[in-house]
Symmetry: C2
Subunit: 555 residues, 2 copies
């Protein structure tokens, strides 16, 4: 089997304008970034067409070290849909350089189900993440400067809530002190860097309806509180215009192609553990404007990505997914069934039978939104027919559609069964209109409790002192109506990353709540969440290189 990047290189790409033309995107409106990438203006969105398009969410069981291949299935499904004659688009997130050079690798699919050019997508792409990094850090510099320049006029901040970001895994930046070395170096204060996908600007870019809405949200960003306890926003700083200018190009979705030359929008990239985990609303709606079927994904397991996709993204953007596909793998299920990571390639029916409870719990949760669910079994080389048949029979028993995805090896041809299942299900048994887990009018405590006890299986939610203080602050500021965005480990329903399978009866401890007044959501931090990842002992960067003029080591 060739590596992802070898496969990517072996495919002769079609000029992106030709793909745009074939799918009805007006080519005179788009801007090339090289031959194979283009920015498509968000102003081409047609809400009437959006309403008629079929949106499909791809989510997954709880991730494990075994990997799941959710992006590969998402791309594979779109390829399969095209194979059976449907006009299908993908809408996906952009990869972050941090994980790409760290442990996880890139995020452009795999095998024969990739978005291309994968090297450019995994590296700087069209610079959206860099624009977000710039915009975020420009606000910080302007804020610190405002404090510094006005300190003799009696202006001071009691509390600063805004930090800095970089798109790199750098644990040394988690907790820093800035402004040292004398008074001309500004105000000395404790601070930190998050990774760029955790920036509120990333969430804003992904949730903004248009440029005006982007600007409005930037104005509303809460930077902290002045010494007389007044909220201080970007509007107060007077630089919302300048920050919007920095993000103007980044707001337009990026069009690329799949391994089979079908179109894909890849735009925005918040992580699903520390942020809301979906590609931009604009990319989804642009795809729906030009495609009859749009396959989109939400990060990590369904507890994180899918929940936020429905309760935050769909609620705010008025989207109604016709179907949810949940991806499962035999190896992942076995890990949830207690099988050690070293043994998951061996057959183990006991483990599989136990592990399937993780899948069932997610399906129950997804159905609670009124979603019709089908299972995509992402086939790996070592999977046995017995394992596969077991999962198939299990799905039949619980009345959920089942299909095998083999797009990694076969491209769209390996996802034709899945595509037929998806089309058939959408035609005969589509999802109901979304039932949200909580109402906007619920209190913050109610919202978190409905998610943690209702979906995760917690016994109760415990709010720590910092969280309680923030809840009062949220009330005082009138932000209670915002959706909540849970930041917790992706490896468990609980806050304990070691609790595989199905956790229940646990306490769900909320440590802090981060107010995203611009993104209009409340980030509820449960457990020790890292908003800046670290690098492993052997980072992927050691394997990335140029060999005979070709980039190696990206995946």
């Amino acid at each position: 089997m060739k590596s992802d990047i070898e496969i990517a290189r072996s495919i002769e790409l079609t000029k992106i304008k030709q793909i745009a033309r074939e799918y009805g995107i007006p080519v005179e409106e788009i801007s090339n970034y090289g031959r194979y990438i283009a920015k498509v203006p968000e102003t081409l969105i047609d809400e009437k067409k959006v309403k008629k398009s079929n949106l499909i969410l791809v989510t997954a069981i709880t991730p494990t070290k075994a990997g799941i291949g959710k992006t590969t299935v998402s791309i594979g499904l779109a390829l399969g849909l095209n194979k059976i004659g449907k006009k299908a688009f993908c809408a996906l997130r952009e990869p972050s350089l941090g994980p790409c050079f760290g442990m996880k690798g890139g995020a452009a699919g795999g095998g024969y189900a990739q978005v291309l050019p994968m090297d450019k997508i995994n590296l700087h792409f069209t610079g959206d993440f860099h624009a977000i990094t710039s915009a975020h850090n420009m606000i910080t510099a302007l804020l610190d400067n405002y404090m510094y320049q006005n300190k003799d006029n009696g202006f001071a901040m009691k509390e600063v809530l805004w930090n800095r970001v970089l798109d790199v895994n750098d644990r040394g930046l988690r907790y820093i002190v800035t402004g040292l070395g004398g008074k001309t170096n500004g105000i000395t204060r404790e601070s930190s860097f998050d990774i760029t996908p955790a920036s509120e600007i990333m969430a804003i870019l992904c949730l903004a309806k248009d440029e005006d809405d982007l600007r409005r949200r930037i104005e509303n960003i809460l930077l902290g509180f002045t010494i007389d306890n007044k909220p201080f926003t970007v509007k107060d700083l007077g630089v919302a215009g300048a920050i919007t200018v920095l993000l103007k190009d980044a707001l337009s979705p990026n069009l690329v192609q799949t391994t089979e030359h079908t179109p894909a929008f890849v735009h925005g990239g918040p992580f699903a553990n520390i942020a809301h985990g979906c590609n931009s609303v604009l990319a989804t709606k642009l795809a729906m404007t030009f495609g009859d079927y749009v396959v989109t994904e939400a990060g990590f397991g369904a507890d994180l990505g899918a929940e936020k996709f429905y309760n935050i993204k769909c609620r705010k953007a008025g989207l109604q997914p016709k179907l949810t596909v949940i991806v499962a793998t035999a190896q992942g299920l076995k890990m949830h069934g207690g099988v050690d990571v070293d043994k998951i390639k061996e057959p183990n029916m006991e483990g599989l039978k136990e592990g399937v409870k993780n899948l069932d719990k997610h399906i129950d949760n997804l159905q609670s939104f009124g979603q019709t669910v089908v299972v995509a079994f992402n086939r790996y080389a070592n999977d046995t027919d017995e394992e596969l048949d077991f999962v198939r029979r299990h799905c039949e028993e619980i009345g959920v559609g089942f299909a095998i995805n083999n797009a990694f090896l076969e491209g769209g041809a390996g996802a034709v069964d899945l595509a037929n299942l998806v089309v058939d299900t959408i035609e005969h048994n589509p999802s109901q209109p979304l039932t949200f887990t909580y109402d906007e009018t619920d209190s913050v405590e109610e919202k978190v409790t409905k998610i943690a006890c209702g979906l995760y299986g917690a016994k109760q939610v415990l709010f720590g002192p910092a969280a309680r203080k923030k809840i009062q602050m949220i009330k005082d500021l009138g932000y209670t109506h915002f959706p909540v965005c849970i930041a917790k480990t992706q490896y468990s329903f609980s806050t304990d990353p070691k609790l595989y399978g199905v956790a229940s009866g646990f306490n769900f401890a909320v440590r802090d709540i981060v107010i995203n007044a611009g993104a209009e959501m409340l980030v509820v931090v449960a457990g020790e969440m890292m908003r800046m990842p670290g690098l492993p002992k052997e980072p992927q960067a050691l394997h990335i290189d140029i060999v005979n003029g070709e980039i190696e080591g990206l995946s």
Copy 2:
């Protein structure tokens, strides 16, 4: 008079591929970034054509608060050359977001002598600066991680010489402590951020001959010393390949157009006070491959930019400029003659006569390199004929060509006299082959002394304790043969920014020397140099906005 951005908007741009075609650049080889910007592969450089092309350096008198307009003259001269039928290119630096949102504004020329699209050039452009920022900070994260992961194996650094960069004016990042908050947050250490144009990676990108040379230089970057006093480089870290991958696209020069649709390469952007101050070697050579005349500039006054252009860039790249144009303004000369900034718009012949000594000193210095020099008098609205005639006569007296530039108001038509002077001088009295200020075999002390006493007018050079220690280190490591890159204030020949005009008999104090083993130069820090600027009380960001769909406030 319209603002720069209004003029920029009023011009209907030509598609960049059409401009490429007109100037013989093979369009199938170039990559568009939107309709009006393209990356041109550096592999198109033809050294035979480079040898035949006429390279013209534009430099300036010592800058003052009055401004000089060096970039405007550079672009204007290229426009003028095109106007008189010559095939002329510009090769310029990319602007930095820091000054653009801070005090200085953008750097894409002005009036009717701009490079376009000026908004994109001044903002993220093709992402080169962001790629440099990423590459620099990725090395830091990998280095800190290496220390952290190997601390129990007895590995430790005695001294870390590598910090981080961001393309923003942020004084709070000048001196920081990182890795706080517990042992999983890495190694606690003092550190700092420089602005991206001060990154060694920026210098490397601007001096690299090709991709292999880029990689070789990245490998050689000296990150610090291990506890057993051994130098530790990027090669030792094992990530030169990954860093080269991050810079692969950034290495290709960017093609844009002027206000009169002539081609300009805009690529790389080190500042001339804290770095070597010239656009990339590759951009200059690409321009020389396709243009008979190439106008390039070097930052700030001739003491900084031009000296480094000859002694570093031309020496290393084998370039031989045919002519040097020095830009002077009546207002700037008056400030050098002791006239207060509030009064420089009024006629003042006394001040002008005194101030012209600054021009003379620079001309002497430029001639010491064997350069033929002509003066471009950059005309401002308030300049009187008497002032202008005085400078013209003065140039006649000292035997130096003189022409007025009025390209700001008139575009190429306002630079025809200058263009004719330039062509005539190159035909009849071109520069001699470069005589460098120092030999590579000179000691570090000799190199610095030859520049400071020979060009600046210093009485003697005083090396502080840190500098002396570094000189020994440089000897031990075998880096003595590198050129020196003086980091000092741009506002004076001396290290005192208040000493206008011609300084002489001063002590030149060298505080520190930064070893750039990858860029292959020694950055000699004289005086209190800021490698990270701060923002003013009223930053330009307050005036940047989108009004009726148009970006305002860029200049």
